[in-house]
């Protein structure tokens, strides 16, 4: 399978530390994203595979945290790389590759959200939950985040999960840096409020549970 070719080759390169390929992989790992992108622009497939390896999971996580459907998250992560492949000839190293990739991802996400906005109601119930039911904290965090304003939530998530600095967030969302900072502060304060009651109710649930069990017994 073609995909196995890419991922497999990446895995092989990563695993084979003794051979020439392994040395190349190690060498590639030391190269910056921008240099890899330029190499890929010149036709180096290995450079792209290194970039793919670096950003595959972060980009999937980016989409996964923002979309209910796992398959769509994977598709969009893949679509991000496809856009990169198609637009390689036009790439100019004037900004970080990371910002470039997440810029594409944000565009794709916006398009996906527009597409989903019409059929959101019908598709919601049947969708797979984003987090495991076992991870109550994750569910709790997710629900708290959902209560935030959309714009502020995006800034907060870019900061916390994608670890962008204020300037990069400002560039991605085309906002002034000060606006990013104030909105981030607002969103954190709001999230703090959203998390505290949940913590209390959760504590209450935990304390109440033995009583119920006792009742069953």
């Amino acid at each position: 399978m073609a995909t196995c070719g890419i991922t497999g080759s990446v895995r092989e390169l990563s695993a084979d530390g003794g051979g020439r390929a392994g040395k190349e992989t190690q060498a590639l790992a030391m190269i910056s994203d921008e240099a890899l992108m330029l190499e890929f622009q010149r036709g180096s497939r290995e450079a792209f595979e290194e970039l793919f390896a670096r950003y595959r999971e972060p980009l999937f996580g980016f989409f996964r945290r923002r979309l209910e459907n796992r398959e769509r998250a994977e598709d969009l992560a893949q679509e991000t790389f496809l856009v990169v492949i198609r637009a390689t000839a036009r790439y100019e190293p004037r900004a970080l590759v990371r910002t470039y990739l997440y810029g594409i991802a944000l565009k794709l996400l916006a398009a996906e959200r527009r597409k989903l906005s019409g059929k959101e109601q019908s598709s919601e119930p049947g969708q797979e939950p984003t987090v495991d039911a076992a991870s109550e904290t994750a569910l709790w965090v997710k629900q708290a985040l959902e209560k935030l304003d959309a714009g502020e939530r995006e800034i907060l998530m870019l900061r916390e999960y994608e670890q962008f600095n204020y300037a990069e967030i400002a560039e991605l969302l085309r906002l002034p840096v000060n606006t990013v900072r104030s909105r981030l502060f607002r969103s954190r304060m709001a999230l703090k409020d959203h998390l505290q009651p949940k913590r209390r109710s959760r504590t209450e649930n935990i304390t109440a549970r033995p009583t119920e069990d006792e009742g069953v017994k």
Partner: protein, 481 residues
């Protein structure tokens, strides 16, 4: 938390914890955070929140589903050169949907503008070229017919007695008669006074004396030298000889501008006046521009003694707008010319006598003949000059302008709607046909050079277009740069 209690804002504290605070403020924040419990609590909350957020972990991706990347990479490797082009075409990044429509519409509009503007431009150029020439200029030919022939050069006399005028060349034959009658209505006889000429034979003698007779003036014709020994067939016009004994010889010119309400009548009257006074038209132009009065401009020639009478009669044609008269005395010039001519003839006579009576070497004979030839040439030149001068004295020039007092016609009934539609349709059809013809002519005339320029500019323009495409695609993908 306020600034009165805390040197830094909560937001600044958050930025400090994120490593986004400026150095000076970061120092202040660090110092304050060491002893401010309230700020420490906030910092703990923010840190704890970040930790809680990080508890939301997502599962790893399934790379087996990412099939398209491999195929895209392979496709790119197969066509590395065409990736960019096929990309934007295939995906329609630039010319997709509405953009393609807009670009097409723009191209159509540009073509339409070109199709309309080029013929107009060419037409305006033609119009500009024609601006310098009177639009409705009519020239009367020798027989008085109205023609639209191009303007010939103004009348000019040469030494052989040929005079050129608009649409007409007045030629004097060897008898100095005006061959072609250039008079209005073509009915006038020769305006020249009766002349008597004598044809000289080889070694001819016994000249005839003639007198130039005009209506009110008798011009003595100089008796030709009977002893002319030239031996050629030269015809001498006796009418060109004047005697200044009656007074100074003056070349008279005059100008007259008249405005009349009845242009056509004035036009006919002008011809009649000229006919009465034995004059003729040197040049005549009639211009009839649209929405303006007609104008007749004529250079009239008449016997000098008839100039005043003719002018007086012409003034009756309408309101006088301008009048001028001038005269150049040529008596001295004429007398001088006459004396030089007599001397030359005398010299020629003496040389001829020498050739007859003396005998000598052949070289001497040839030298005398050479001198005779030179003197003969001078005599001919001076005779022509004298003839021209005499003609100028005999005939005065009157530059006449007759203007029509124009009244704009009042159009009472507007053209009917159907006529207007018809005219508009005809104009439209004509415009389309002329436009097409003009475009074809333009392509035929400029096509080769355009082709050359297209070949020259093709590669730079293609390079610029690709550059533009890049920029447009980057706008579609904002973070791309």
């Amino acid at each position: 938390m306020t600034k009165t209690n805390h040197p830094i804002e909560q937001e600044e504290l958050m930025a400090y914890l994120d490593g986004e605070l400026a150095t000076d403020r970061a120092v202040t924040a660090a110092a304050h955070l060491e002893h401010c419990q309230e700020c420490q609590r906030l910092a703990d909350d923010l840190k704890g929140m970040s930790q809680k957020l990080m508890e939301w972990e997502v599962e790893t991706s399934d790379t087996e589903n990412m099939t398209d990347i491999a195929s895209a990479l392979e496709e790119r490797e197969k066509q590395p050169e065409k990736t960019a082009v096929s990309d934007w075409r295939g995906k329609g990044v630039i010319l997709r949907g509405r953009r393609r429509v807009w670009v097409g519409a723009f191209a159509m509009v540009a073509l339409l503008v070109l199709a309309v503007s080029i013929p107009n431009w060419l037409r305006s150029r033609n119009g500009l070229r024609g601006y310098y020439a009177p639009r409705d200029t009519f020239t009367y030919d020798a027989e008085g017919r109205l023609t639209t022939a191009p303007q010939p050069p103004p009348p000019r006399s040469d030494r052989n007695g040929a005079a050129a005028s608009a649409g007409k060349i007045y030629t004097y034959d060897s008898l100095n008669h005006l061959n072609s009658s250039g008079y209005m209505d073509g009915a006038l006889s020769s305006p020249r006074p009766e002349t008597k000429v004598r044809q000289l034979g080889v070694g001819g003698s016994g000249g005839t004396t003639g007198k130039l007779q005009s209506k009110n003036q008798a011009i003595d014709v100089q008796q030709l030298d009977d002893e002319a020994q030239s031996g050629d067939d030269l015809e001498t016009v006796k009418s060109d000889d004047l005697t200044p004994s009656n007074g100074p010889l003056i070349v008279r010119t005059a100008g007259l501008t008249v405005t009349t309400k009845e242009f056509d009548k004035a036009r006919v009257a002008l011809g009649e006046i000229l006919k009465r006074h034995h004059g003729y038209i040197g040049e005549l132009n009639v211009s009839a521009p649209s929405e303006a009065g007609r104008t007749l401009t004529a250079a009239l020639r008449m016997p000098s003694d008839q100039l005043d009478v003719t002018m007086t009669e012409l003034k009756t044609l309408g309101r006088i707008e301008g009048e001028s008269q001038g005269g150049e005395e040529v008596t001295q010039q004429y007398v001088d010319l006459q004396a030089r001519l007599a001397n030359a003839k005398h010299t020629e006579q003496r040389l001829t006598d020498i050739l007859r009576q003396r005998t000598g070497k052949l070289s001497d004979v040839l030298a005398v003949e050479l001198q005779i030839g030179r003197v003969r040439g001078e005599i001919e030149r001076m005779q022509a000059e004298k003839k021209e001068l005499a003609k100028q004295v005999q005939f005065a020039t009157l530059n006449t302008t007759v203007k029509e007092d124009y009244k704009a016609p009042l159009q009472m009934a507007p053209p009917s709607t159907s006529n207007r539609f018809h005219n508009a349709a005809v104009d439209g059809y004509r415009s389309v046909v002329e436009g097409l013809v003009d475009v074809v002519l333009f392509l035929l005339s400029s096509g080769p050079s355009l082709l050359v320029w297209a070949v020259i500019l093709f590669f730079p323009v293609r390079w610029a277009w690709r550059k533009l495409k890049k920029n447009l695609v980057k706008k579609d993908i904002p973070a791309a740069s």
